[in-house]
Symmetry: C5
Subunit: 251 residues, 5 copies
């Protein structure tokens, strides 16, 4: 579970609720039509941009913003050092006996065992590296798109409300409440963008980056194993890919 995402959204909502309840009553801030305009309109705009399939996928991928499933890089480096030691002692074919959770590592080891040369290995794995991560990237773009579209439709809703209010200014008593309702769509648009869509877009983009960094480290490790590098030196080299703080902990 990615606690940060859940705590962030829940706590953010609680803070906004607190502001509402301390100054008035919740009922004033709930308006179904306003919610429909902002949520629906923003989603429509993004649907045109990316198509139905990508939009649906994005919501599936968004689940990843709530999960924290990346195993630490340190464990991966341990594993690669182990494989390098095994390969040095018993040859590359010995790697066939080991199995992995990580699909990308498995794939690379399969190429190694099948006798792909260094150049083939790089071509195959870097092409894969360049083309994956795109699902997360795509999800990130769609949430960033929602983060653009929600405030825009918030403003459109407010403009509709203002025009209606201004055209019917006969009853001064109704001006205040009418304008309050008009502002609701702007409020919804701003909360949906700044507390939900934009942060999730950034989290998904971070996930894509982590995935790429991880795959890069795996490729470097596999090339080192193939060259029969000294496992200790290979480990030291791979550790330069980790932030210095985490590195220290391992020692």
């Amino acid at each position: 579970m990615d606690l940060a995402t859940i705590i962030g959204i829940v706590l953010g909502m609680v803070l906004i609720l607190m502001a509402i309840l301390l100054g008035g009553e919740l009922g004033l801030f709930v308006d179904v039509v306003s919610i429909l305009i902002v949520l629906g309109g923003g989603t429509c705009a993004v649907m045109i941009r990316f198509g139905l399939k990508d939009l649906t996928n994005a919501f599936k991928v968004a689940g990843n913003a709530f999960k924290d499933k990346t195993a630490p890089l340190g464990e991966l480096i341990d594993k690669i050092e182990e494989l390098a030691t095994l390969a040095r002692k018993e040859g590359l074919l010995a790697l066939e006996r080991v199995s992995f959770d990580d699909l990308f590592l498995q794939k690379g080891i399969n190429y190694l065992v099948d006798g792909a040369d260094s150049e083939q290995l790089q071509t195959l794995l870097y092409t894969d590296l360049a083309n994956t991560g795109s699902r997360h990237e795509n999800g990130s773009k769609i949430f960033a798109g929602l983060g653009d579209a929600f405030p825009a439709f918030g403003m459109i809703g407010t403009l509709v409300g203002l025009v209606n209010m201004l055209a019917n200014m006969d009853d001064p008593a109704s001006i205040g409440p009418a304008m309050a309702t008009a502002l609701l769509t702007t409020l919804y648009g701003s909360v949906l963008a700044n507390l939900i869509s934009l942060p999730i877009a950034d989290k998904l983009s971070l996930r894509a980056e982590q995935e790429r960094a991880r795959k890069n480290l795996i490729i470097e490790g596999l090339l080192g194993i193939q060259k029969g590098e000294n496992p200790k030196i290979l480990r030291e080299f791979l550790e330069t890919y980790m932030p210095p703080v985490e590195r220290k902990k391992d020692e």
Copy 2:
């Protein structure tokens, strides 16, 4: 038909209409002069930027945002595997007998059959790749330009209305309706930009990207066929260009 584009625009308009009708009457929101200023002014600004021919082309190209004509990459890879098998068995010249819907693939096969070497093939096809897609890109830029210009002319219209209203504030009763009308251009500008122009610009840019990805895959496939690569390995390599989800389905 690209349903997402059509549903997105229609549903978005319905939501805005709903907001209008629940709060007042449609007549308040229709003003021909305001529409002329925003639509006309925005189009004028974009016409200066890109010229008449490009503007007209953009509207033709925009049709593509409503059509979904890209055949799935999976089918293309099947086709290339088939060609690779044929070329291996009966030689490159055998490819002459096959014909294709895809003009770019046809062109590449023609070069292959005509005996272009690997370097020539790459030069010719990559230059073509670099230069096409530009029609979609151009259309995308023009719609993005409209997405900039419509809100600007919306604001210009509102300023004109405000100046007129402020200079004639003798009759307080007329202030409300005059200001309501003044705000209409801002509303039009915002809807035209955020529901129509900007999403279509993004969709056209996505189409250009898909076209480029497709051509790239074709070039890689043709180079593999020319080298006489094993069709299975070629297939596996080309599949790294597909998102992992779609890849799985094939298996």
Copy 3:
């Protein structure tokens, strides 16, 4: 004549005038001091940025936004094919007898005839290519700068007017007209930026790009002539630089 630029500006102004006249009278919208602040202030800001000489040049170059002088790429390719045929038949020196309107083509042919080798030719022409186009680019940057500065000075003018109005609120009757006048600078800034400066900046940038594409095509053509390439193949290669639509027409 680049009709798009002229029609765009004139029609845009007509639309704004129409909005003005339908809602009030033109006199309300003309204020010499306001015009001086926006036009003068914006020009001052840009003068500091780029200097007097560049500013003056920019206005000269801006004329190009109103002229459409680029000969179609198709004609240029015809010319190059012709030269390639001549060079093949009678040798490179025969090119000396031909003369050209296009100064860049002339220059390249001169180098060819003088016996520059392929590397020298590329160095000389690509350096020229990298350094020209800068006049248009410079003009484009200056108009983009004006497009930034006009709205800023529009806002400054409005703030000055608002402060004056607010400090003298004794006579309620004068508030409306004073505020109307204050808004005029914002209106001027917005029209000058969105209808004139920014579109012209983009048009000049497009011209620079077209010039670069043209020179690139000429360089590729000259290199092909030097290598003694088959004129038909050279033509086909150069045509990949044209948008597919225009290409079709030639055939």
Copy 4:
């Protein structure tokens, strides 16, 4: 101590306090709920983006914005010249006897002494260079994120306040104070972003850049030492990495 950061923040706060006290009383400007919404909401949004661990790290790293610990480049160049002289006279192994505060320099010297060749040295050190600095960069991104999120939650707080005020406009006397409170969140968001978060983000990014420049200079120095370059010439070359002003002082 980085005096600039401390003076900047303290003096900035004093100026704002002065403005407050000259126009009213401090009590008007302190509202705990408003502070909670802006500080809490903004932090929640950033927590979703980057996760708890990165957020906590960012506050630790932020301490660096208040410390000025980078030794001048001039001293580093003196050190490298000394090492180059030593290595020339007594061989690379003599460097083993020297010890350094700078961990990166120490690491590079160790590689040198261990007999790494020029290519290995570059691979190891440049990979380290590319991967470090990321802690500062990460801290910088998080503060930039706060600089985005604080004004957004400032606006959200103001919208909540406005809706509450507008819905209860019965008592005209309460409008002013209610609106004053509503504006407080916007004020907080603006001060937190423009006086604290964004400047600290830039300072951390500057620190990362300085660290990179320093490591780059060390790598160039080590490569020069390995090649046995003349210490004077090496010094002159390394000094091109310093701003000319500082260079002059050394002479």
Copy 5:
């Protein structure tokens, strides 16, 4: 003297003064506290970002925005042609007798005379080229930072004023003047950013670019002299670095 900078700032101020005096009196627009908040607050924010030393340097460098000291490129090319002729006739050592105002040219000639080979020459001069210009760039960034910070503190000042005014709305007569004062900081921030800081930032960035172009031309010239190139051909090659207009004048 860079007349454009001086005229731009003076004339811009005159225009704003004119707008003030035609609509009211100067006294309304001068408020020492407001000036302190905007100037002081903006400077504090930038001080945190860049540190005291860089801020002080930036004001020194800013003087360059008011000086026009770059000798025309034409003269530099004349000088290089002369040196090339001398070197061809009497050998590279003859260059030792010539002396130059331009420090960079002097330095390059010294390397030439000292017998540096082509590669050394390029390494030394391009490293210098990459590292200088940074003083101007730094000054430019700091003024761009001020251009961001002044409007932000203008807004902060206005918010403080508005909160004070709204909390004390008992006396309607005081509302106008209080709001007028509140708006002053926004006005100051806008003028300081758009008439002073941002244009000076751009001018300094232009100066950095000109310096880089000049040094680039000098490096190309020195490499040509070293290779013993024909002075005429060298001249023609160097002239491609000049804008075509200026080139024409020389002929």
